[in-house]
Structure formats: C-alpha cells, structure tokens
Amino acid sequence: MAEMEIRKLLHDPTELVTRAVQPILWLGIFGEALSKVRAIPTGNYSYLQFITPGILTQSIVFIAIFYGLNVIWERDLGLLQKFLVTPAPRLALVWGKMVSAAVRGLFQAVIVFIFAYLLGVQIILTPFSILIVLIITLLGAGFFTGLSMVIACIVKTRERFMGIGQVITLPLFFASNAIYPISIMPGWLQFVATINPLSYMVDGLRAVLIAGTSAGIALDLSVLFVTTLIISLLSAYMYPKVVM
C-alpha cells in the first residue's frame, strides 16, 4: 500500500506542491512575524528554530488525520470492501494506511527542511537525527491515521467526518508545544498538552533537530510507540465495521 502511495505521488506530484503551501505559510509568515515580536520565550534558540519541528509535526498530523476521509471514500467506491475480502490481516491493512500517511509525511519533511534552510534556520541533520525524524514520522503519522480511521468507522459519512476532522485538528495543534512552550500555558492546558501525542512528536523532533540532544527521546518514542500500537489494534477491530 505504501509503495502504491509513492507511485501515486510520482504519477501526479501536484499534491506535493499544494500540500507544501501550508507549512511554508506558517514558517514564512507566522514564524517570521512572531520571531520579530520576541514575545514567546524559546530559550537559546530563535523562534523560527523553535517552531520548525512544530510546523513539520503539524504537516504530518494534518495529512494523517484526513486518512479517515480516505477510508470513507474507499468504502463508497467499493475499494475497501475489496480489501476486506482479501486474506490480508486487518492489522496489516491498517498498518498499510499508516505507512502510506508516513510516506507523505516524509515528503513534507523534505519540503519543510528545504524551506527552513532557505530562511536560514539552523537545523541539525545527522544520520541519527534523520533516523529519529523517520521513526517519529512513522509513529506520529501512524497514531493520527489510526485515530482518524477510528473516527471514520464511528461517523461513517464524509460530511460528518469533515466536521469532526476540522474540529479536532486545530485544537490538537494549539494544545501542544508546537508553536509555544508548554510552560507558558495555563495549568489545564498544560495537562491537555501533556496527554497530546502531538507534543511528544514535537518534543522528539526539537531535541534532535534543534538542540542536538537525545535527552528525553526515549520517553517521546515510548509514548508514541505505545499509543500507536493501541490505536492500531483499535483501528483493526473497527475497520471492518465501516462497511456494515
């Protein structure tokens, strides 16, 4: 499935360009503007450095969260029924979707890195940091793809999914450490940010890409691994129900 996703992008790369617009706007306009204000405490790093991992995470999550829509679309087309009638295990089908989202996420990572480089943002790209980016993209895209598939299986229609998708994506982004540190949030929001897997994606990416440290990576990866595994199992259980 993931290979077919790459082939689709190669047949029609325009989607890569259109998807690149949002992170470029966030970095180029929001990032540039806020870095001039200097209102947000980002320690030893520039604001643009601080939000680059956040914007990358946002791109990955926004791609993944709409994979549920893809499931409903495939159900309406009959593709999903065809997949479910094959002997492929349900879990393998779910993982196929997760890896597909991660593949698209990695294309986003390349775009964000190129644009950040053009803006003069200092990013640490070493074999280790690239490996961690790969793992976090895979796990993070996996978790949010799984979450969107569970939502799709519950709501079952495109219209309802679009409504819910929009309602949850922005709060997920804002209730995280993507564009400001958790320490400046009120207590209740700090709690939400702490249980938001998106925060662990940002934290891990920020550690390896900006700080150049592996401190805290183990916790970030563990949280993402466990949550992705749980949501995989839940998705695999719910996936066949979308056709009923």
């Binding site: 082939r7 047949h11 009638v85 094959t86 492929a88 056709v243």
Partner: protein, 271 residues
C-alpha cells in the same frame, strides 16, 4: 473440510437480523453446484446484498450454517477469503494508479508468491484483453475496461467462486457483452463458480444455469429460468414477468433516491 460432492456454496437456514424489527434475510436456504453460474434477483431491500456480504465474510450471520467450498464462513473466514473473489457494484479500482499497479496491489493482498506475481498479472491482463493498457492510468479507461480490470483483480488468485454485485451496471450493451464474454471464459478456463446479483433480467436469462428471486428477505423462487417462467402460469412468460409475479414489484419501482443517485454517478463515471 472441503467436500467436492456437496455444493460449493451451501446456505442453510440463514437469518440476518439488524434489529428486533429489521430482518434482512429471513430463514433462507439454497445450494450452488461447482462451476454453476447463478444469479440473485430481487428488488432493493430484498436481502440480496446482505446475503452476498455474509457469503463473502463482510457481515456475520445472526444464525444459520453457511459454507463456501466446505468452509464455514464464520469459523474459517480467513480461509474462505483465499478461495473467493469479489467485484463490488461500485468502481473499486484506483484511478490514480496504472492497471498493472492496481493488479500488483491485489496480488500482494492475496499473498500470491512474489515469483508468481508478474506472470499471474500478465495472464490476467491477457485473459481480459488489457495487455496493451497495462501501464496506462486507470482514470483514462472506458467503463468496460474498468470493469474488466476489476474482474482481473478478483481472479488473480484463481478463486473457486467469483461474486459479482451487479457486474454490468452502468455499461452500454457492447461493453456488457464483452464483460460477460470474459466472465464465461473464466468458467471455461478455471471452472470458476459465478455468483452474481443483477437487475438486468435479460442478463440473468442468458447467462445463468439457475436464478433465485428474493423478496422481503426470503427466496420467493429458485430454479432454471424456463422452470421459473413456467410457474408464472402464463404462456410465453419472461423472467421479467416472473420477477413481477414473485415480488409484486414493478421493475420501475425498485430504486430509492440513494440508489438512483449512486447509479447515475456511476454511469457518469463509466462514461
């Protein structure tokens, strides 16, 4: 365990209840012989789709014993999936991939051994007369070509039974004839049992060894077309007369808004 002497599909007292008041399939029993071409007819809501969904393991029955090639669809769902192919009514190929890629995806999902995949795909492309279009994006295909490719995806693993849900819906007469020519070749070449649902009476009349007409969750009549027509008690009765006789429905009245919208969208997409 498989038993060659029994029917390849055996449905015994199948009941599917969605809620206390909604019984989609109401105590249905029938058997299909190996290599038979069998059609399920009936108005919308008669229980055809539910019956097919149960046979292809997408839906669990409420009660009854259902086996395909001797395998219980509930207890051995994974094994049943290895020996059946399914072509949904709606377009079930990915237009953004080529014909070859669509087939390769299914070859992998059917777990066809790596060394055999390319030869199986070539065999299917040739059988369905699509070899020259193997590397074209499917969104450029005509309706008949799309349907042939969908059938190709469902037969890569040489299934013993091929289920088709309204296989020629939305196709013009030429494409329809061509699709059926290929389906019948499958039976000749591989002995595949063909089980399909349709609203096209002439299609059922021409192609089937036997048909069943479902109405309100029950099988109203089952048999060869001449036998069924004879039961209408009218000289020169057609299958359409039999359909109206056994269901009390006019063919015109079969579709609701959703069905019409879906059918028209599909016709539009199939060109």
């Amino acid at each position: 365990m498989s038993n060659e002497h029994a029917g390849i599909i055996e449905v015994d007292h199948l009941v599917k209840r969605f809620s206390a008041d909604v019984v989609a399939v109401d105590n249905v029993s029938f058997a299909i012989a190996h290599g038979e071409v069998f059609a399920l007819l009936g108005p919308n809501g008669a229980g055809k789709s539910t019956t097919i969904k149960i046979l292809i393991t997408l839906l669990a029955p409420t009660s009854g014993n259902i086996s395909v090639h001797g395998l219980d669809v509930r207890e051995s769902a994974a094994e049943v999936r290895r020996i059946i192919g399914y072509v949904p009514q709606t377009i079930s190929v990915d237009g953004t991939l080529t014909a070859y890629e669509n087939l390769m995806l299914m070859a992998r999902l059917y777990d066809i051994p790596r060394r055999e995949r390319t030869s199986r795909i070539a065999e299917v492309l040739q059988l369905l007369n699509l070899t020259d279009h193997a590397n074209a994006l499917v969104r450029t295909f005509s309706g008949g070509m799309i349907r042939r490719l969908e059938i190709g995806q469902a037969i890569l693993h040489h299934p013993k039974v091929l289920f088709l849900d309204e296989p020629t819906s939305g196709l013009d007469p030429v494409a329809r004839q061509n699709v059926w020519k290929h389906i019948m070749e499958l039976r000749e070449q591989y002995g595949t049992t063909i089980f399909f649902s349709t609203h096209q009476m002439e299609e059922a009349d021409e192609m089937c060894d036997r048909v069943a007409i479902m109405n309100a969750g029950k099988i109203a009549v089952i048999g060869t077309v001449p036998d069924i027509n004879q039961k209408v008690g009218k000289t020169g009765a057609t299958l359409e007369d039999a359909f109206i006789f056994f269901t009390g429905a006019q063919l015109e009245d079969m579709s609701n808004f959703r069905d019409v919208r879906r059918a028209r969208r599909m016709q539009q997409r199939l060109g």
